[in-house]
């Protein structure tokens, strides 16, 4: 039942994202057909990789539980750390910009923030998971 719900949700999200990409193409006209196909291909590749990784993890662990109260607690704490560090990183970027030490475009800033958030989240989660608890 839970698996069925997850599958339906995955399909619904996939369709929604595909819809948004096509809508972006039709409405803004900023994207040519080649870019649209490339975007959809990258999106499908990422989606496929996620689904395959999950399947592999499930088959390795059999019916074992993938997440429980401890892992959820650790992930929540890791997300908090990630947010805090990201805010510091954004403040740092603003300060560098103010002092004219660094000139970054909006895309570069977004990429920086995204990388900092992902790296700090997974890093913090790995460290906390080794510790066992958040206390």
């Amino acid at each position: 039942m839970k698996l069925k719900r997850t599958l339906i949700l995955t399909w619904a999200i996939s369709l929604a994202v595909t819809g948004f990409i096509i809508m972006g193409y039709v409405w803004t006209k900023k994207m040519d057909a080649q870019s649209l196909i490339l975007t959809l291909a990258v999106y499908l590749l990422v989606l496929g990789a996620i689904v395959l990784t999950r399947r592999r993890r499930q088959s390795r662990g059999g019916n074992a539980v993938q997440k429980d109260e401890r892992t959820i607690r650790l992930a929540n704490r890791a997300a908090s750390y990630s947010w805090m560090i990201s805010i510091l990183a954004i403040s740092g970027l603003m300060y560098f910009e103010y002092l004219e030490l660094l000139r970054l475009s909006a895309e570069q800033v977004l990429l920086c923030v995204l990388l900092v958030m992902l790296a700090t989240f997974y890093g913090a989660r790995a460290v906390l998971a080794k510790k066992g608890d958040i206390d």
Partner: protein
């Protein structure tokens, strides 16, 4: 907790599956490195046929 589990001839994996958590959580619990929620403590106690008090002890770190 380990003592109660081995007495029932249960593996960590079997206990984890029975109470709906990951095996690592049982490992950390037995190592005294994780404080379970009251709900989980109750589930484990029920599964092992013991009371929560028998399985877990509370130490006030602030004295």
């Amino acid at each position: 907790m380990r003592e109660f589990r081995t007495r029932l001839d249960l593996t960590q994996g079997a206990l984890a599956e029975a109470v709906g958590v990951r095996r690592e959580t049982i490992v950390f619990l037995e190592g005294g490195k994780y404080n379970p929620s009251l709900r989980l403590a109750h589930k484990i106690a029920e599964k092992l046929g013991a009371t929560v008090d028998e399985l877990f002890s509370f130490e006030d770190e602030q004295g």
